[in-house]
Symmetry: C3
Subunit: 393 residues, 3 copies
């Protein structure tokens, strides 16, 4: 028994199975099949390996973004000059990847809690009956007290008074000077799988260069300093148009890196696009135009809490980072090869179809390719043969 096992094992080790094949010498079939095989080979090598780089694994990046605006703005409203610096016009102040640059505003000074008439247009009334005490609208400013005020023909409300009137948006926008502000972006990305860390301050971008450069798609594609006016233009807006009602812009930093090359070739590409319609595709825009929010500065005056309400219209900038790195790896390479061999198998199936079903001599080839067995009759014949065979060994 043991003997048999070792014998079987050595038999197994020292022998090798290879399929028997028919070599069909037929010009038509030969050319068709070689062409199909050539095509499959070209596909595997050309497309999967060279074009799609199927021999690589990919990893997405984890990223962190810091921003810093620079620039000073001026406004002159009712002969009152005012200067605006970064602390005044950027929200939030700490340099996040998503922030707002104020370009227009409506100020409501000295608001305090109290009773005052609501704006014409909302809560219109002719008598006290039209103003139900305690009720309020979802989009209103406060709660009705139940009185109808004669002067304004609107209900009295309990709210931050006086109520903000935002029916008229300043045009031209208050801060056209925002066009010249600059934005400095610091972006660091990590590809954890490949242990690669990169910053958008790539090789060649040093402090001397930064001090003077401004991003330009062609001449300075790696300068991390962007003029706000340029950003707006590259996003498909015009500055005066977006400055009035505000808008949202996405800055997409695209890191597509082939890490089979030196890591210094892994460099960012900046793309700019308007979010939520850029005034060109009218359908989407209609639903909700512009970008604005309100914020309040609170103060105490005469022991009373007051606030300055600002309705800020501005450019909301979202910095989105997309990092995709690829690197050679043995698994996808072998998977692609293995799968390619499988497709070669498909090529053989197609050629066989031609050979066995479409050619004139198909029966001849069938005979060459296949050996038929029908049980009963042949078994005896074959078993004899087999015995002879084993006897021979």
């Amino acid at each position: 028994m043991k003997r048999n096992l070792t014998e079987a094992l050595s038999d197994f080790l020292f022998e090798y199975e290879t399929p028997r094949q028919v070599l069909v010498k037929n010009k038509q079939v030969g050319i068709v099949c070689r062409l199909i095989q050539l095509f499959v080979l070209a596909y595997i090598i050309g497309w999967v390996f060279i074009y799609e780089k199927g021999y690589q694994v990919s990893d997405t990046a984890i990223s962190s973004v810091l921003t810093k605006m620079k620039g000073v703005g001026y406004t002159k409203v009712n002969d009152t000059e005012r200067v605006w610096d970064v602390s005044d016009y950027v929200f939030p102040e700490q340099g996040d990847s998503s922030f707002v640059v104020m370009t227009n505003y409506i100020l409501t000074l000295g608001q305090k809690q109290g009773k005052c008439p609501s704006l014409p247009g909302r809560h219109n009334c002719t008598s006290d009956k039209d103003c139900k005490e305690g009720e309020h609208k979802r989009t209103g400013h406060g709660k009705m007290t139940g009185k109808c005020l004669d002067e304004t023909k609107t209900c009295e409300i309990f709210a931050w008074c006086p109520v903000e009137n935002d029916h008229v948006i300043p045009d031209p926008p208050a801060m056209m000077s925002a066009e010249n502000y600059t934005l400095f972006i610091k972006n660091s990305i990590t590809f954890p799988q490949f242990r690669v860390v990169r910053s958008n301050l790539v090789e060649g971008v040093d402090s001397n260069y930064i001090r003077q450069c401004v991003y330009d798609k062609i001449s300075d594609p790696f300068c991390p300093i962007f003029r706000l006016g340029d950003i707006v233009t590259m996003s498909g807006f015009t500055f005066p148009q977006i400055a009035i009602q505000g808008g949202a812009i996405g800055i997409l930093i695209d890191w597509t890196c082939d890490l089979d090359w030196h890591v210094r070739h892994c460099r960012p590409v900046y793309n700019f696009h308007g979010l939520y319609g850029n005034g060109l595709d009218a359908d989407e825009t209609k639903a909700s135009v512009g970008y604005n929010f309100r914020y309040a500065k609170y103060y105490m005056e005469d022991s009373e809490e007051k606030r300055t309400l600002t309705k800020v219209f501005g450019i909301r900038i979202d910095i989105l980072v997309r990092g995709l790195a690829r690197k050679f790896d043995i698994i996808p390479t072998l998977t692609a090869i293995g799968s390619g061999v499988g497709i070669f198998g498909v090529a053989t199936v197609v050629c066989d179809l031609v050979l066995l079903h479409l050619l004139h001599q198909k029966d001849f080839y069938k005979n060459m390719k296949f050996k038929y067995t029908t049980m009963k009759e042949e078994v005896s014949v074959m078993q004899n043969e087999m015995e002879k065979n084993s006897a021979k060994e």
Copy 2:
């Protein structure tokens, strides 16, 4: 030599190799094998292609979110009425994808830098020895001055005075009216690989519809306006419960798009879930309940800096976007086919095992399938044969 090369080339081009096969006419084996092959075919077509859509490549989205709350809140504490608008109760104010809606609060008015007793419970003392000068606790409010105060039996500390007392959280919560606030979400996503940009204001969601709609899972699944009370309920909380101590809610916007269809079928699905336990699974919740933070409004009074400290309890809403688009591509299609052919190979291996090891007539089939070669003896014989063969050609 040259002649030989062209000959070899034409030989190669005009000939075609196809494996020779045995056609076993045996009902048992035939049926077993056809069934296995059928199963493999069904798996490849039904599962890989139709169910899992293995013929598609996928891309994840880059997204940007804007939010806007609307609504007015009221509180009446100690007969002082107060109205709260968006600038008062949303943090931060600029409409980020992650923000807090205040539902409850503890005010500490008129704090200024100075010395005052610490809260009972911390820094209890009986004499000055218990209060080491200059020491402080990590979770305390300030630094001990070294004095023990008689009235309170606690150490005196240098801190923002008076110290906040947050032992009692207002119940019922101050701003139950928050239930009726509404949240407007604008979400724009980009699938960079497919160059598709979509907004959650999909076809049919125009300004008329937005003015009046409120999100409902069944009747208005694409309305981008959400009632805060609904959000809380859909997340598995109850509003009065979450309003007291606060909590965190995730709104997951799920874009699963099959871009082989028209892009208008690419629409968001909104999901709501409580983050960090929703009061149902007690284990997780225990570790850290609720959500709160402190913020201060600073002001000058009598040339002295003072502040109003607010401990804000609120609903923290995180809007998370997950975008996954799929589209037909030739590579995964051919990879799936190639790999399927490979699995067909496995089927053949299984059938061969049955044929050659389990059947009664296995030896007969072995003989049919294999041609044995043992070197020494046969070489001479075969070489003769070969010579005859080549002579024949």
Copy 3:
């Protein structure tokens, strides 16, 4: 006709094709081929299945992060003591995943809109001609009025006055006590495809444990409370160095989960690294050192708007979450097997090359493996044979 179809069908169903093979009994070839096959098998099982877990599908996480700082800071500048609590030194206050802890600052008190000299070094002048009215620098503080001031030898500007002087950064940093602040991180992740939700407050991290633990890589790897000084050290900075000019630190929470095991094994790993250079790699750092931003507290004094401008130097902490879960799935398993079978096919091709081209007896083996057909002459012979064959059946 119908008869023929059913016959063909039953023929198809009850027969089975298996390739005919040559069993080459040759020690050299046998061993070479078995080794190649063994290697391929080892690769498929060992590498693809066990090491790379090719039988699993993967899903990336959606995550949400809350943070809370604790701790009190002290400063003593010009004999003025001051205590700083969380509302004073954290920006923004609501506990986002990206925030700043102030460690140093430059205060400019009582700024108001007006005219004042610009800082020495910028806008130097000798006469009014050097100061062009209305002009301003991008990095300046305001607009020139056209006057050259004698006392300072600089141009007068219209700006927030007095102008901030940030030439000297306090050293040692004002708030060295920041080292002892603690950071509490709550992180919730969702793997949507596997419907798994996890929090970084894993099993065993309950409220008792949280009250007293501090994160340590070895002894307390799951404690969600981090000492700021430890974070800085683990990122490769030293605290006094980063505290002066500020810096950016990334905390990477890495969830790599094998969901074929119990979900409790899915636990976070915290990594800390400096973003934008940690003072060690000098090249990157040079371009832009430190982290700072300005923010202003506004107040009314004598009916005039004033502000306190603070240039904040601080540690910017970005919490980045990376979640990757893997779970068994039938598709990648079968794809890996299918592709493996394909690679087996490659092994056969290699062995055939050895057999048919490198061995001495290659012609013998060629003859065994291949059956040659040349059309014209043989067709007649073969067709006869075929007829005989069919006659025999």
